[in-house]
């Protein structure tokens, strides 16, 4: 039972490069989420998805792109990385609805030089 996994766990890239962070869950949860964690801000929602092929913006979507062609995968792409996107990124999933717990992956630490 793998649960929810993220890859890579650590990534260093340069300004202007494209980066894709992967998220995979084995529970067939309908909802998936991407957050970024920065000191003093807690976690902020970047994008979420209610089902395959349904995505929507969160609080801080600028500079990010998501897709969800399969229920179990929810990749996050930084099309042209900037230093302000240096952060720890967490993926999460939940069954459905507002009363379901979100389960978090272990995070990806991204550094943009």
């Amino acid at each position: 039972d793998a649960g929810i996994t993220q890859s890579p766990r650590y990534k260093i890239t340069e300004t202007g490069r494209q980066v894709t962070l992967m998220c995979h869950q084995t529970w067939s949860h309908s909802y998936m989420f991407w957050y970024r964690q920065d000191l003093g801000h807690g976690l902020r929602l970047i994008y979420y998805s209610a089902a395959a092929d349904i995505t929507d913006k969160g609080e801080v979507p600028d500079g990010y792109v998501v897709s969800r062609s399969k229920t179990e995968n929810f990749p996050l792409t930084l099309e042209s990385a900037t230093r302000s996107q240096t952060s720890v990124y967490f993926c999460a999933s939940s069954k459905t609805g507002t009363d379901n717990e979100q389960f978090f992956g272990p995070g990806t630490r991204l550094t943009v030089l």
Binding site: L43, D56, E101, Q102, G105
Partner: protein, 114 residues
């Protein structure tokens, strides 16, 4: 707009002492409230949640929290802290709209002295 405030950035307690972490929310309707814990280098783990009913909720690892609507608060408590409780704690509230979008507080980092 919905928001969550955790007034204490850092708290240090002695092992065996009691603990209370504060959380205040701003939300028009009845909120769904959560406390998560994050150990160093780890993802977040749910400690407890409040949706409705009894305002005192019990969670894992001996934690409890009390929802007080009049004070817009959802404080986390533990009667006797263990060294392994050292971590960062996040309070969160859902927004409306049915998509379970969590709004997080900035977190409280707990240190435990032996």
């Amino acid at each position: 707009a919905q928001s969550v405030t955790q007034p204490d950035i850092h708290i240090t307690v002695s092992e065996g002492a009691s603990l209370e972490l504060r959380c205040n929310y701003s939300y028009g309707a009845t909120p769904y409230l959560f406390w998560y814990v994050q150990s160093p280098g780890q993802g977040l783990q749910l400690l407890l949640k409040y949706f409705s009913g009894d305002t005192l909720v019990q969670g894992i690892k001996g934690f409890e929290a009390e929802f007080k609507r009049s004070q817009s608060s959802f404080n986390l408590r533990k009667p006797s802290v263990h060294w392994s409780d050292a971590a960062e704690y996040f309070c969160a509230v859902t927004t409306s709209g049915g998509y379970n979008k969590l709004i997080f507080g900035a977190g409280t980092r707990l240190a435990v002295h032996p």
